[in-house]
């Protein structure tokens, strides 16, 4: 059973019919519906191909937020071995919106850090929907420092609507924590790879996504402000999120053209949520390639190139 997005409604109807037919056939052995059902399947696939061939930026935002997309924990479970979670910022608390720890990728010890949104009501609340508090960023800073001392590559998985806008988070220095986390990203002398797996929401994403290589999944987004937020400020109407999503240039494809993303990882037809395993495999392959390339570089070079990359970004605009 799929969770359908609003624009996928026609698809839900066709796939629903095919499913119904097959259920009928299972209940009644004399019925032969396979031909009809197969025709519906073909129709559904054609429609899916059509829908996903040219997703508008706003639809991409919806796909990027799809609850069935693989989340940070899914990637860690599938792609890493010996994952050893490390907790806490040593100051105040452990923030479960950010997970991180030691692990092996293809046998190589690494540090993996990421936003985890949770997959059901209980885990979503526990993980605060992937919205980190200062403790989350301070935990990340600590883990990045640890990786740097022992020469372990850092892999960050970014998936957050943004840093948590709350009273306590502000009191404990949300902005300072984000600033220091970004600063840490620009200090470590180990390979730093970031994958935007869903939503790259503003400063809360930058804090982990300032990396040697930034890869984005095909239908992920990375933006300075949510389309809804932008619409309510610039259009004075939160309902104008489609226009805002268009104007913000937040898709993986636009970000690659702007030089912010270094590569786009293709998703299965119909988005990551339709074939989670294939998506996870594709991300794993991309990490492997980037890691191999970066491990050839000297520590100083990694640092110098990372800083230079950010100094150069945007020099040519979309004309590039």
């Amino acid at each position: 059973m799929n969770n359908y997005l609003e624009f996928e409604k026609p698809l839900a109807e066709i796939e629903g019919k095919a499913e119904e037919l097959r259920a009928l056939a299972r209940a009644n052995e004399e019925m032969d519906v396979e031909k009809e059902a197969a025709a519906l399947d073909r129709k559904a696939e054609a429609l899916l191909r059509d829908l996903y061939a040219n997703l508008s930026p706003w639809r991409k935002c919806q796909v990027a937020r799809h609850p069935d997309r693989p989340h940070c924990k899914d990637y860690i479970d599938a792609l890493f071995t010996e994952f050893t979670s490390l907790a806490g910022d040593r100051n105040f608390a452990d923030d479960l919106a950010v997970m991180g720890g030691l692990a092996r990728f293809d046998g190589t010890p690494v540090m993996v850090i990421g936003h985890e949104k949770g997959h059901n009501t209980r885990t979503r609340i526990e993980r605060n929907f992937g919205m980190a508090r200062p403790e989350g960023y301070r935990k990340a800073i600590r883990l990045m420092g640890l990786a740097d001392r022992f020469g372990l590559p850092i892999i960050s998985l970014v998936d957050t609507v943004g840093a948590y806008p709350g009273k306590g988070a502000e009191e404990r220095g949300q902005s300072e924590a984000i600033a220091r986390s970004t600063e840490k990203c620009l200090q470590v002398k180990v390979p730093l790879i970031s994958i935007i797996i869903g939503e790259g929401g503003s400063g809360g994403a930058v804090a982990f996504a300032t990396a040697n290589r930034v890869a984005m999944l095909e239908h992920s987004v990375y933006t300075v402000i949510s389309p809804e937020g932008c619409a309510s400020i610039l259009w004075k109407d939160a309902e104008k999120m489609r226009e805002a999503a268009e104007a913000l240039r937040l898709t993986a494809q636009d970000l690659e053209r702007l030089g912010v993303a270094d590569m786009v990882i293709p998703e299965p037809l119909g988005g990551a949520q339709r074939d989670r395993e294939a998506t996870i495999r594709a991300v794993g392959a991309a990490i492997g390639r980037m890691l191999k390339e970066l491990q050839k570089k000297k520590p100083e070079q990694l640092l110098r190139e990372r800083r230079q990359k950010y100094l150069d970004i945007g020099a040519a605009g979309l004309a590039a």
């Binding site: 220091r180 600063e183 503003s202 990375y222 912010v260 950010y310 970004i313």
Partner: protein, 302 residues
């Protein structure tokens, strides 16, 4: 906030130093409602004479009050690509830029200058809230970098006055990328062993607070300045939490350990002189209003 009161005289007038009567001779203090005569307000560095409310001050006014004898040299900021995304909301971004340029007489939302304070050579950058809310786009990023590079070239401290609603949405992801970009500028300064002092002014929020404005060696704020990542309205709307009195104001941040000091605008100059000279291990400063340096820089600011 009265928009008219924030209008800075057009650049052309200041170039010819023509004395003109401001459109609005009186400004109402947004805090206590007192009507303040423009000259009195300017002399008091745009601080309300009755309730001490710190109103926004333009970078040029700030520099005139800060540098010895009011003399400073502007530092060129490399021009970025204009309107990199072809952004259009209800208005085209280039039109919004032009309107802001006309209203402020400035090119963009940050001004960088060098000069002396208490005979101590420094580089100073100041953000202009009246220019599109001081928002950080590629120009502001370039300005922070230009300031840091000049400070490193001349081995001088950098003092930065922040004031911004956040990142400039019209430049999309490229405005967000100014967070790491300006962070590199701060790192270059620190690695050169130079002091970086931030003065947070009302308001400093969003991506600006979460990058160069929170990475100072010393963090000072003006009284009652709003300093935050997410603004109080956003928090109230999304979380529905009740916010305490003075939440996210300078004094509140000081109480919570996020700042070194909260300093009244009239004392800022002396304090900055004192701090920079101590960090540079120089002799104690000569207090008071110093005249312009004997050898004035070639191009003096007005």
């Amino acid at each position: 906030m009265n928009w008219i009161s924030n209008y800075v005289r057009p650049k052309i007038n200041s170039l010819f130093s023509r004395r003109e009567t401001p459109d609005n001779l009186w400004t109402k203090c947004p805090e206590c409602g007192t009507m303040l005569f423009h000259r009195e307000l300017a002399e008091n560095l745009r601080v309300c004479t009755s309730c001490d409310h710190h109103m926004q001050i333009s970078p040029r006014e700030r520099f005139k009050a800060l540098f010895d004898g009011g003399i400073f040299t502007e530092i060129d900021v490399p021009e970025p690509v204009q309107d990199p995304l072809g952004f259009r909301d209800q208005k085209k971004y280039p039109d919004r830029l032009k309107a802001a340029q006309k209203a402020t007489g400035e090119k963009e939302a940050m001004l960088v200058a060098e000069g002396e304070i208490g005979r101590t050579p420094v580089v100073v950058a100041a953000q202009d809230f009246s220019f599109m809310g001081g928002s950080m786009g590629m120009y502001v990023g370039n300005a922070v970098l230009a300031a840091a590079r000049r400070a490193i070239d001349r081995k001088r401290p950098l003092i930065l006055f922040s004031a911004a609603g956040g990142a400039r949405m019209q430049e999309g992801i490229l405005s967000l990328m100014q967070m790491p970009r300006t962070t590199v500028a701060v790192q270059m300064l620190k690695e050169a062993g130079l002091p970086y002092i931030v003065v947070l002014t009302h308001p400093t929020t969003g991506g600006v607070t979460a990058s160069y404005a929170m990475l100072g060696d010393i963090q000072i704020a003006e009284p009652n300045a709003l300093i935050c990542f997410a603004g109080p309205r956003v928090i109230q709307q999304t979380i529905g939490e009740k916010l305490p009195e003075g939440f996210q104001r300078a004094e509140y941040l000081l109480d919570h350990g996020m700042l070194d000091r909260v300093t009244h605008r009239k004392n800022l100059r002396d304090e900055l002189i004192s701090i920079t000279r101590m960090l540079l291990r120089e002799t104690p400063p000569i207090k008071g209003d110093l005249a312009a340096p004997a050898q004035a820089p070639a191009e003096a600011g007005k």
